[in-house]
């Protein structure tokens, strides 16, 4: 059973589409990740054009981050003020990101740039996860517990425009969160990711936010960044595929719920290591596509069809 995607202009199997959405949703629910970093490359492997994969992935992340944010908000774990400051940066970052993206489409380099960015992102994510999970497994065997410092004092406290963030118990300059938001905005617009993987460590290590508030706050700001990115792509690159997004959203929301349930029952490290290996596998595939000489070195793209 297949369905025609009007913007991607190809037919795909519905079961395959729902499985991809479900599995990515499950992983994101389980590990508290956005899942965009897996969704976009998998869609590209399926033959969906890069621009459609990126823009539609952003649309899908809006739904999954709303679901996630509500859960954290009910537990009082969202710092709305910090989210708002991050968003100021993300707003400008995503506008710049979509501009860069459409320039790259015109230059015919979008596929290559996306591949290289994804290779870099997935390789680092995969390696970090692999190292982290193997350390946790090793520590567990040795019955060691890792103690973490609760509060950091760093350069973020010395810059001007200091603001009070009561929820996070922080008194820091607004500049670092704006810069972080800006970078996330660019990445979100060009890669179709929410950016949790970069946002969470940046908020912990650069801003010194308490870990408990980080996930909720990052999800909260991702709703708005990906919503903006979706609108910008819909109006400039015309690449948001509503039919594709619909099936991915349905499957990923259900998958994410099951993932959260599973996370409460399963021990994460082994699965995390497995995920790391999957991520590295995807990165390797992307690298091979860039490095192996293609069968056809010419490619055609229609830039204007006459109606």
């Amino acid at each position: 059973m297949s369905i025609y995607l009007p913007i991607a202009e190809l037919s795909v199997n519905i079961i395959l589409l729902l499985s991809i959405g479900g599995v990515v949703g499950f992983l994101s629910g389980m590990f508290g990740l956005g899942g965009g970093f897996l969704m976009t490359p998998i869609l590209i492997f399926m033959g969906i054009p890069t621009n459609v994969a990126v823009a539609t992935s952003a649309n899908q992340i809006v739904a999954s981050s709303i679901s996630g944010t509500i859960g954290y908000w009910r537990q009082g774990l969202v710092d709305f003020k910090m989210g708002g400051v991050l968003l100021i940066g993300s707003f400008f970052g995503s506008i710049l990101g979509v501009w860069i993206f459409s320039r790259l489409v015109v230059l015919g380099q979008i596929d290559t740039v996306i591949s290289i960015l994804y290779f870099a992102l997935l390789t680092s994510i995969g390696l970090i996860m692999l190292i982290e999970s193997s350390q946790v497994i090793r520590d567990r065997v040795r019955r060691k517990t890792v103690k973490r410092k609760i509060h950091y004092h760093n350069w973020a406290h010395k810059l001007p425009f200091k603001m009070k963030f009561y929820k996070s118990k922080l008194y820091i300059s607004a500049i670092p969160p704006i810069i972080i938001g800006f970078v996330i905005g660019i990445l979100s617009a060009t890669m179709g990711i929410g950016g949790t993987f970069i946002l969470i460590p940046a908020m912990i290590y650069f801003l010194g936010m308490p870990t408990s508030k980080v996930i909720g706050t990052s999800l909260f700001q991702i709703i708005f960044v990906t919503a903006l990115v979706t609108l910008l792509h819909a109006t400039t690159t015309f690449a948001v595929d509503a039919v594709l997004a619909f099936f991915l959203i349905i499957a990923s929301v259900i998958g994410a719920q099951l993932g959260v349930l599973a996370a409460n029952k399963l021990r994460g490290e082994e699965i995390r290591a497995l995920l790391a290996i999957i991520v590295l596998g995807v990165a390797t595939k992307i690298a091979l596509d860039l490095l192996v000489e293609p069968n056809e070195i010419f490619n055609i793209s229609v830039i204007r069809a006459l109606f």
């Binding site: 369905i3 025609y4 995607l5 009007p6 913007i7 037919s11 649309n59 899908q60 809006v62 739904a63 999954s64 981050s65 709303i66 679901s67 509500i70 859960g71 009910r74 015919g108 380099q109 596929d111 290559t112 290289i116 919503a227 979706t230 609108l231 792509h233 819909a234 109006t235 015309f238 948001v240 509503a242 039919v243 997004a245 619909f246 959203i249 349905i250 929301v253 259900i254 994410a256 719920q257 959260v260 860039l290 490095l291 192996v292 000489e293 293609p294 056809e296 070195i297 010419f298 490619n299 055609i300 793209s301 229609v302 830039i303 204007r304 069809a305 006459l306 109606f307």
Partner: protein
């Protein structure tokens, strides 16, 4: 055979309404609709060599069918290796290239014949169908002729691999000496718009008569509605896409909450 009766009746009507001529044709389609389930279609083109049925076709008469699709502008990009990475480098823009081209004949038609008679998009080389001089080409930084040829070849090759450029012979069936019919495969990758069918009756290597007509290829259905809506009202389309995401996201959280309480 039903088809044959249908064909004969249709041709008979055509004989009555058309003046005595040496080529009478008909077609079963004026419009081809492409919907979500469209997997290609065989367009039927049929006719008679001579309007006088007693005048049978001889070996010297041939039929040439040409179908030209709507024009489009395309860019051909060439990948080159930079430090081991295969990246798009040089590109050439071809404007007003037909999105579909089909040439079919009862017998092998020589390139000289096509050139002499200036039929449609002519041959530069044997496999190539396009009159390059008629195209508006942006060569960019591609300078020498040999390299230009590789881009010409690539355009034809990619179009042929998408089944939108074809040159065949022997696909036209001859029935009872005087009637012919041909099924032209229209794949689902064809562009939408107006298509022109040119038919030529060739006797003794000369065009004795010719006939042209148009048909449309149109996209229909919910998918087409979504496609054109996204182009015509991009902001509203974007907002609706967002609204769907927001509603499913909210209900997902709600369902989950109840699910957890149980």
């Amino acid at each position: 055979m039903n088809f044959k009766i249908f064909l004969l009746i249709k041709l008979f009507v055509l004989f009555l309404i058309s003046p005595a001529s040496a080529l009478v044709i008909g077609s079963d389609e004026e419009e081809i609709y492409i919907d979500a389930n469209f997997s290609g279609k065989n367009l039927l083109v049929f006719g008679a060599f001579y309007s006088d049925p007693s005048q049978a076709r001889d070996d010297k008469s041939d039929i040439l069918i040409e179908v030209i699709g709507p024009s489009e502008d395309v860019v051909i990009r060439k990948k080159e290796s930079f430090f081991g990475f295969w990246l798009n480098s040089k590109s050439v823009g071809f404007n007003d290239v037909p999105g579909f081209y089909y040439l079919s004949s009862t017998n092998e038609i020589t390139d000289e014949f096509l050139n002499e008679n200036n039929i449609g998009l002519l041959n530069k080389k044997d496999t190539q169908l396009i009159d390059w001089s008629a195209l508006n080409i942006d060569w960019g930084n591609v300078k020498n002729q040999k390299e230009k040829d590789t881009f010409y070849d690539a355009l034809i090759r990619t179009k042929e691999s998408e089944d939108v450029y074809r040159k065949v012979n022997g696909e036209i069936q001859i029935i009872d000496g005087n009637l012919f019919r041909s099924y032209i495969e229209i794949p689902n990758t064809v562009p939408v718009g107006q298509y022109k069918v040119n038919l030529y009756l060739i006797i003794d290597n000369k065009i004795s008569n010719e006939y042209s007509y148009n048909f449309m290829v149109t996209r229909v259905g919910i998918e087409e509605a979504i496609y054109s809506f996204s182009k015509n009202y991009p902001l509203i389309y974007g907002l609706i896409s967002l609204l769907i995401a927001i509603l499913i996201g909210l209900s997902g959280a709600e369902v989950f909450k109840r699910f957890r309480k149980v």
